[in-house]
């Protein structure tokens, strides 16, 4: 059942709304900190260094050259192919998520530059139904990869997702195959795919596109894992180590290439992009 048919697709821009509150209390150190300072500091507490959650828009801002972002997403929104209804209808969940995030779906897709190197970048929004991958996210990722191919530039995907979107059933599952199929075309053209894993990168997103980066960089503090603690507990009731599915666990076990602090992520991307860009 199609929804929002009568509405226009809205393009993401990075203009900020005025924030009324001047101060916020850091959940980690308890200090009262100036909100603007926090924002300017990539949402890291200026007092104790705690990472606050970045929205997809804030994430993009933290990574790209100012003013370089242009929304290149496909003008699509979610359907409800299963007419899914749990404690809430899927249609209602989508409306609520759009309201809450001011985004049409759980991913932002744009062209931009990082230190003047052109890229296409997709960033998942965890606040939008857990950043889950349904048909729209799958299509936007594929569209982004095709944009990168036509612009002959790198593709960057910043994951923040609980996995496949249950409400679209097998269609969500098959987005894993869809994004994987299209990702191969980028490789055929020798264009790099940099996968950035942030808190959290899990389930079907980890078991497909996010794990297929030429280079995989995790943000410090990321949670990276296929099956969550609850699933493991329910299935096999196993004792899990304290660092289970942390960035440290992932690098120790060879799941990722690098761990970067939030403030270093942009520099890491620039280094990798420059290397792949040489002599082409």
């Amino acid at each position: 059942m199609p929804i929002f048919k009568d509405r226009q697709y809205f393009r993401v821009n990075l203009e900020k709304k005025a924030d009324e509150a001047l101060w916020m209390r850091c959940k980690s150190c308890g200090e009262l900190v100036f909100k603007r300072r926090v924002r300017e500091n990539n949402n890291i507490c200026p007092n104790c260094g705690e990472y606050f959650f970045l929205t997809a828009k804030e994430r993009i801002e933290s990574l790209i050259d100012e003013g370089s972002f242009e929304d290149v997403s496909s003008p699509i929104v979610a359907d409800d192919p299963l007419e899914f209804q749990d404690s809430k209808s899927y249609v209602q969940r989508l409306e609520d998520a759009q309201e809450k995030t001011d985004l049409p779906s759980a991913i932002i897709l744009g062209s931009a530059t990082i230190s003047e190197i052109p890229i296409v970048i997709g960033v998942m929004e965890f606040q939008f139904i857990g950043g889950s991958m349904g048909s729209v996210m799958g299509e936007q990722i594929c569209h982004g990869i095709e944009e990168a191919i036509s612009r002959h530039c790198a593709f960057i995907l910043v994951s923040s997702s609980g996995g496949a979107r249950v409400q679209e059933g097998v269609f969500s599952l098959l987005q894993m195959a869809k994004t994987t199929a299209v990702r191969a075309r980028l490789a055929q053209r020798q264009l790099p795919f940099i996968s950035v894993m942030t808190y959290p990168t899990s389930g079907g997103v980890l078991a497909s596109i996010a794990s297929l980066g030429d280079v995989i960089i995790a943000e410090k503090g990321a949670m990276i894992g296929f099956a969550g603690r609850r699933v493991i507990k329910d299935t096999i009731a196993e004792e899990l180590p304290k660092n289970f599915q942390t960035d440290a666990f992932a690098i120790e076990h060879g799941v990722i290439d690098r761990v970067a602090k939030r403030e270093d992520l942009r520099g890491e991307l620039e280094t990798v992009l420059r290397f792949f860009q040489e002599e082409r």
Partner: protein, 316 residues
């Protein structure tokens, strides 16, 4: 409505009557015929009106044929090969060489255990990273010799746990999907029981995807969906229905190509018949795939996966 156990009990009773009939020279033939008819009617009633949760139960039925049962029926010369060449041999994922209809093929199959002992070895059909690496190794072998690949999907899901995460289960599934989609050889996947999420897709991203009539294929178990979305583990029936995980529903949604019919009551009622029907379906799809040029087949596969999904296009 009667359940399967009751019907099985009735069947046993009829069998007992038959024996009594022979032994004592009492003529019960008329009664027996009547009971047999009643049984057939009840069975038909039961199995033509299965709700989704009941199908989930049949898909997980412990007497249901597993991969090796079909393999023994369809591929008498099946030659099993082992190991991922890196760290071990996952017994939840079998591989081997075989013939079908004059073609040499490679088989990749998820295998559940029949006994507690066997399930300890086979992890209840839950595949670990080494199993997906084994699948990939066999896919590459098949590609070198242009053997088509037939995969049997039957898993509750990839094995969740510390060992799996330490060995990069996410990356192993992703690599298996990527490898399968990148093959030139034709691929046919058959979901014979449980198609559990990414763990199933890892060997299910094929040119043709078939399902046995009472198999299921889902992004999450009904139990998982009930716990996460309904916050109530008891509401599995609603979750099963909402997920549209049965073969008829998935066929209607256009995500699978064909349904392989099962005997009334499920595949376990007649393995030989199910295996015969399954073989016919596989051969037909394989022949269609082999009739295409490599370019045509690869383009069809690409389009199949490139276009999967449902969304609305809006005015820009």
């Amino acid at each position: 409505m009667s359940d399967e156990r009751t019907l099985d009990l009735l069947e046993t009773k009829i069998q007992e009557l038959r024996e009594l009939n022979k032994q004592d020279g009492i003529d019960l033939s008329a009664e027996i015929t009547k009971l047999e008819r009643k049984l057939a009617t009840l069975r038909e009633e039961l199995y033509t009106n299965l709700n989704d949760w009941e199908r989930v139960r049949i898909a997980r039925e412990p007497r249901r044929p597993y991969s090796l049962d079909y393999i023994a029926e369809i591929f008498p010369n099946f030659y099993e090969i082992h190991g991922d060449r890196l760290s071990g041999d996952d017994r939840a994922l079998l591989a081997g060489l075989a013939h079908i209809d004059g073609h040499r093929i490679a088989i990749i199959a998820q295998q559940k255990g029949r006994t507690t002992e066997e399930n300890k070895e086979r992890y209840f059909g839950m595949v670990r990273p080494q199993g997906y690496r084994k699948a990939r190794r066999v896919m590459e072998l098949a590609e070198r010799f242009a053997f088509p690949i037939i995969s049997f999907v039957d898993t509750p899901g990839a094995y969740p746990g510390l060992e799996s995460e330490e060995n990069n289960i996410g990356g192993a599934i992703a690599a298996s999907i990527a490898c399968m989609l990148g093959l030139t050889v034709p691929t046919v996947a058959i979901i014979i029981g449980e198609g559990g999420s990414g763990g199933a897709l890892a060997i299910g991203a094929a040119d043709r995807v078939l399902m046995l009539e009472n198999a299921i294929y889902s992004v999450i178990t009904p139990e998982g969906a009930a716990a996460i979305l309904w916050k109530d583990k008891e509401r599995v029936k609603e979750a099963a229905a909402a997920l549209k995980l049965t073969a008829p529903k998935l066929h209607e949604l256009g995500v699978i190509d064909d349904i392989v019919p099962e005997p009334l009551g499920g595949a376990h009622k007649n393995l030989q018949e199910t295996a015969r029907t399954l073989k016919e379906h596989v051969v037909r799809h394989l022949d269609e795939l082999l009739a295409m040029s490599d370019e045509e087949r690869l383009e069809a596969r690409y389009q199949r996966y490139r276009t999967v999904g449902r969304y609305s296009i809006l005015k820009d």
